[in-house]
Each structure stands twice: as structure tokens, then as C-alpha cells.
Amino acid sequence: MPEDDEVKRSRRLEEVVRDLLAGKRLRIGTADAHDRDAIMAAAALAGQRDPYPRMSPVFRRRLAARLEPAREPGLLSRRSALVAGLAAAAGALAGTGVGRLLQPAPQVVRYGSATVFPAVRWYDAGPLSAFKEGVPVRFQAGSVGTYLVREGQNVNGLSSVCTHLPCELNWTPSAHQLTCPCHNVAFDTEGFQITSPESYPLPPLPRVQVRITPAGRVEVGAT
């Protein structure tokens, strides 16, 4: 390829790259199409600036609105359930037929399944009497960070790591919630997300197995 041609191509490609790095849409001229492989590689690299991309709340709401008319009246088919999920995620439940079908508890999202950590070894977390009712206690069980929450004579174990980004949750007593320091997300003491209109819907916190020994000791199963 003649040198001046390569210089011209590199200049045109740089315009595409500059747009991509500025977060703009791809604008590709006819001449640029000759370098389509390089442009696609540039787009893939630009996509790595956000390694955990998620749909924005605004986009979710818009998408839910577009999909809503497709719902079959009176049926909660998988298709309408999907629309319902989007609507729920968008915080658009109130006043919609979809909302009436799902009826989640206010503020707390109770859908999604909690995965359960395998219990390979059991770690002693102290006597049950040392745990206050409903107040999470941070406990490191081997490689698994947990919050242990007493409920009567039982103790529930939750992962201490946010299900969005791998950040350690903090217990906020005043709000009675587990708060993520990395972004605006919180979970209740059962591991379900406490939502705001702008928050992303997240899976519940993974469960950690807990047992009480005959001697009244709390043990946490982890790896």
C-alpha cells in the first residue's frame, strides 16, 4: 500500500476511534469501509473500557414501554413475564397490569434465586447467644466473606460481596441495610436488593450454609 494512502486511512480511522473513545455512535464513511476489520477491532477494544456494561435504567424503562403492548391479556406467559421483569426493573410497576400480576413488596425486590455456597468445611463463628436478633455480623469463613443474621434459634448466612461488582458490603445500622460502597445499591438482611427508581435490579446475595451444633455453636459452611 502506498505510504500516503496508509496515512489517509490512518487519519480516517483515527476519526472513528476518537468518536468511539468519546462514547459516540459509530459513524463510518464509505471510504472507511475498506478498513472494516480494523474498525471492528477498534469497536471491540473501545467496548473494554466498560468491562461490566449493563443497561441503563432509562433504557430499561424505554424498552419496557416498547414491549408492553405485546403482552397477551390475562396470561402470564414467559413473554409477558419477561416484559413484567423489565417493567419491574424499570420501577414502572405501579398502575400497570404487569405490576398487578407480580405485586412485589414495596422497595425490596424479591425475585431472583439466591445461589448457595457449597459447604466443604465448617467454621466456628461462636455461640448462638453472642448473636443479636436481626443484626448482621461480619464473619470470614475461609475464603468466603459472610454476614450472619440471627432469626430466633436460627442463623442465616449471606455472602458479604455485592452481586453487581465485587465490593464488600457494609452494615449500615441506621438504615438497617447492607450497603455497597462502590455504587448506590443496598440489600436487606435477607439478601434482597432494596431498590430505588434508578437502581439496577440485582440478584439476591448468595446464601451461605449455617448450622447450629448441639452445643449451641454457630458454624458456617464454606470452602
Partner: protein, 177 residues
């Protein structure tokens, strides 16, 4: 204190039902991540995700399993992506452009962001050091051309050409993979 696994009574955790709505929502988030990792910008990724949803969802069978929903959404995403690139490059849309949608969707066992990230890491690692340096500085660390030039002791013009060559080399590696 670490103990054996046979002491005490195991507290059974309550089973949590998995509503289909959440399963499907998770799938669309993954589809969005899959598309974003290929078009590199939010606006195009949102348009294309919406196209996927509008095309695929009305065709889903009510009793479809989560794995089938996922497979169908990703197959639709690949076709929508191929159409997007064909339009951008002025190619006839009615022709199949399999190469424009590659690589294939990730396997269910792997999360899309991790798969895309690993793919790019592998590509960069396979490039000659000078190409890799330019692309890392420019795309992953957000340097301007001028800053890359200053960092590497080259002229802006030279970096611009090196960027073109590096991206072509990355594309060749991708197609050979």
C-alpha cells in the same frame, strides 16, 4: 476454628423460587453486554439490544426453557449485529455476513463480560510489543494520540499509522482464532 463436616444439625435454607421474569431480564442484560463489547458504544448497543428484544420476544414460546430463551436471544443478537455492520459498511443486508457477527455467543457457563475481556486480553498479548503498547494506552488507558506519542517517543503521525497497523493486526489475529 476449622472443624469436620459431621457435627451439629444443618439448618435448611428456604428454597427461593426463580420467576421467569428475572431469568429473561438477566438474559437481556447479557445480550446488551455481548453487543456493547462489539460495537463499543452505549447508543448503538441500546438500539441493537432493543432490536433483538423486539424481534425475539414475540416469537418466544410460553413454555420455553431459560436455556432456549438465551440461545434464541443470542442467535438473534448475532443476526442483528451482522445487519448493523453490513449497513455501516454499505454491504447488501440480504446477504449473510457471518464474519461480521463473529465471534459466537458465549457458552452458558461463562459470563459475557468476562468472555469478551478475556478475548481482548488474548488478542493484545499476541500482538507485537509496540502495537500492544499503542492500543493499551489509547483504548484501555484513554490516552490521546498526542499523549501516546509523548509516552512512546514517536510523532503523532507515526502513532496514527501504528494504530491502524495494530488494529489490522488485531483483526487478523481475531479472524485466525
Amino acid at each position: 476454628m476449622e472443624q469436620g463436616g459431621d457435627q451439629g444439625d444443618l439448618i435448611e435454607l428456604p428454597a427461593v423460587e426463580v420467576p421467569a421474569a428475572q431469568i429473561a431480564l438477566d438474559q437481556l442484560d447479557l445480550v446488551y453486554a455481548f453487543i456493547f463489547a462489539r460495537v463499543g458504544n452505549r447508543a448503538d448497543a441500546e438500539d441493537l439490544t432493543q432490536q433483538v428484544a423486539m424481534k425475539a420476544i414475540p416469537r418466544l414460546r410460553a413454555e420455553a426453557a431459560a436455556a432456549s430463551i438465551r440461545a434464541y436471544l443470542f442467535a438473534t443478537a448475532r443476526s442483528v449485529l451482522a445487519g448493523f455492520w453490513a449497513r455501516k459498511f454499505g454491504l447488501p443486508e440480504e446477504e449473510l455476513h457471518e464474519d461480521l457477527a463473529l465471534p459466537a455467543a458465549p457458552s452458558p457457563a461463562r459470563s459475557e463480560p468476562n468472555a469478551a475481556s478475556e478475548r481482548v486480553t488474548r488478542l493484545l498479548a499476541a500482538l507485537p510489543a509496540n502495537y500492544r503498547r499503542v492500543l493499551e494506552l489509547r483504548f484501555l488507558r484513554g490516552y490521546s494520540l498526542k499523549e501516546v506519542a509523548a509516552e512512546t517517543g514517536n510523532t503523532v503521525g507515526a502513532i496514527k499509522v501504528m494504530q491502524l497497523r495494530a488494529l489490522r493486526a488485531a483483526a487478523r489475529l481475531e479472524s485466525d482464532a
